[in-house]
């Protein structure tokens, strides 16, 4: 992964304005993604993990205005401040998207074949007939049986797993260089989840894609991601290679999150480990460390200013924790 990163995000801040409120779900996030790499963005609901990926590409529902600042370089093109047409030309062609709920993400009134084929028509300049053939190929590629029949079916005639396969086929139809998968397995059953994750990995290596995997499930992270970025209250609190972050978490929030997962060694009937308190309600940016109120290690300095994001003692792992920083300084 020595080459120039395909995606370089710096100081990304997003304010969402709606008819009723204004919130800042993404507050100064920075990360990089190399070609062929999988980055998992992990966080609870409301941590800003989805908005981070979707808002900069203009994918926000009606009634939500996203004000974006910072810098996002995708393939050395600046996305922040780009006009709608530029973003539109990237969507589908260079960046594919997979959504959480394949039932609502597919159009119920159109045949799945058409929904896949139109991507090929639009981005690969194919005729309707050629695109139909391409759709058939894609349906085979995502491992659906009876591809000819599937093309003619409507989403409600398919099971949840098959719908998600259709969604994947749509996302990869124009062979994008980056795939953004938002909780691709959350709406699915655990047995199907394993199939879909395996398919995603397979397609990623076959097509040489980079992938951003948005999830809250550490199990999914462990199996699929090269690197992981943990988000809390709109900020990235820890990033690093998956195996290191998961086995030696540095930030107290990551530690708590990983510790909270029930383990095989836990005695039956024993108490559950978790974090105290509740996540902050989104709104105005928080001064100091957002996790301070729930943190067991907090000191007075935590509340003073936003903790800088610095390398930790573990190679490749960075975290934004004042206590860690102080400790690191003392060691040095």
């Amino acid at each position: 992964m020595s080459s120039e990163p395909i995606l370089r995000v710096k100081d990304l801040t997003i304010d969402l304005l709606t008819a009723h409120t204004v919130v800042r779900p993404v507050d100064g996030v920075a990360y990089e993604l190399s070609r062929r790499e999988t980055l998992a963005i992990v966080g609870e609901s409301g941590s800003g993990k989805t908005v981070t990926c979707f808002a900069p590409l203009g994918l926000m529902p009606v009634g939500v205005q996203a004000d974006i600042s910072g810098s996002i370089l995708f393939d050395s093109r600046q996305l922040v401040g780009s006009d709608n047409e530029t973003l539109r030309s990237l969507r589908g062609k260079s960046i594919g998207f997979i959504f959480q709920d394949p039932m609502s993400a597919l159009n119920p009134a159109r045949r799945v074949g058409r929904q896949i084929a139109e991507v090929a028509e639009l981005h690969l300049g194919m005729t309707a007939r050629a695109a139909e053939t391409r759709a058939l190929e894609l349906i085979k590629m995502v491992g659906m049986s009876d591809p000819e029949i599937r093309l003619k079916q409507y989403p409600h005639e398919l099971s949840g797993g098959l719908r998600q396969r259709v969604m994947i086929a749509i996302a990869i139809a124009a062979e994008p260089t980056l795939l953004v998968a938002d909780e691709p397995t959350t709406a699915l059953d655990v047995t199907v989840q394993a199939q879909i994750l395996r398919l995603l990995k397979e397609i990623q290596s076959r097509m040489d894609m980079a992938m951003i995997l948005i999830t809250h499930d550490m199990g999914v992270v462990a199996g699929a991601a090269d690197r992981v970025m943990v988000m809390y209250a709109g900020r990235h609190v820890e990033t690093g290679p998956t195996e290191r972050v998961l086995s030696q978490p540095q930030h107290p929030y990551t530690m708590g999150l990983i510790d909270a997962i029930p383990r095989k060694q836990d005695a039956i009937g024993s108490r559950f480990r978790g974090l105290p308190g509740i996540p902050p309600i989104l709104g105005a940016p928080i001064t100091g460390c957002a996790f301070m109120a729930r943190c067991g290690y907090a000191v007075d300095a935590c509340g003073e200013r936003r903790p800088p994001f610095l390398p930790t003692a573990v190679p490749g792992v960075s975290a934004a924790c004042p206590v860690l920083n102080i400790r690191a300084k003392e060691c040095a």
């Binding site: 304005l17 709606t18 009606v62 105005a284 940016p285």
Partner: protein
């Protein structure tokens, strides 16, 4: 109190223009006898067909009656008629709809089939048929329109009732062992009435149009009681010489109805998000600008 609260809350969320027009219509109807400058039925053939004067700002009709006073008093006729029709129709509709939605099963099937038939036939046909059989009179008109309107109310009430009954908080009450009386009267009925009240208000325009149409056809409000539709049909023979007397009642009626229709559109689009207006954007951006300033020091 419970059904009124959501209505008040909804009124707060209504488009200003709708609240204003409907409010004006209701006020005009309530205060009509006190603000009408002349007796609406006082004839003065000497000035018949005269144009606007200081005494008669909107002129007088072919019998010399003051048009402004007649327009104002007609608002009351319309308001009372609309209210009577809506109260009768929704009393039947809500009763049937909530019973169907609460009981479900065959009761629901049977009641909704009847409603289906009632809804398949346009409301004006139903009213015309009833009047055709029962004869022309004020109460026959009210009865006819109520008969035409209750199936719609029953359909909506049933949808609301079914939706409410399926809500986990209602299921929780059932699991807690709440009696059917408590579930129906304390929770289901007030919730349904509250939701249907909004629809009823939005529907009032259609009822006002129907009353005017029946009166236009000579089957509703009878002279000399002033009513917009009937004023219009009265003036129609003089369309060429005095179009004002045709246009004024028509325009007033349209104005009265338009408020309800704005409301109806707002209700239909209630749950659909809209793009932010520039004013809203500016207000929200003031907040974020404040954040940026706060974060700097």
């Amino acid at each position: 109190m419970q059904p009124v609260r959501p209505l008040l809350k909804a009124i707060g969320a209504f488009p200003r223009s709708a609240v204003f027009t409907i409010g004006a219509f209701v006020l005009l109807g309530l205060l009509a006898p006190y603000i009408a400058p002349h007796d609406p039925n006082a004839q003065d053939l000497l000035i018949a067909g005269q144009g606007p004067t200081l005494a008669h700002p909107f002129g007088v009709d072919h019998l010399g009656r003051d048009t402004l006073s007649r327009l104002i008093v007609a608002a009351r006729t319309s308001l009372v008629g609309v209210c009577l029709v809506l109260v009768c129709a929704h009393a039947i509709g809500i009763a049937i709809g909530t019973i169907a939605g609460y009981r479900r099963g065959w009761t629901d099937e049977l009641l909704m089939r009847i409603v289906d038939v009632g809804q398949a036939i346009p409301s004006l046909i139903v009213s015309l048929a009833v009047i055709g059989i029962a004869g022309v009179s004020y109460w026959n008109m009210i009865l006819a329109l109520a008969l035409a309107w209750w199936p719609g109310s029953a359909r909506i009430s049933r949808a609301v009732a079914v939706n409410t009954m399926n809500k986990p908080h209602m299921e929780a009450l059932r699991v807690l062992g709440a009696s059917p009386v408590r579930i129906y009267f304390v929770h289901l009925l007030p919730t349904t009435i509250g939701a249907v009240l909004v629809y009823a208000t939005a529907d009032a325009g259609a009822v006002a149009l129907a009353i005017a149409t029946l009166s236009f056809l000579g089957l509703g409000i009878q002279p000399p009681t002033p009513e917009w539709g009937q004023m219009l049909v009265d003036a129609l023979p003089y369309l060429e010489s005095d179009p004002r007397q045709v246009i004024l009642p028509g325009l007033t009626l349209t104005l009265a109805v338009i408020g309800f229709n704005i409301l109806g559109e707002a209700v239909a689009l209630n749950r659909v998000p809209k793009p932010l207006t520039s004013r809203m954007l500016a207000a929200r951006r003031r907040v974020t600008a404040f954040w940026a300033k706060e974060a700097r020091p």
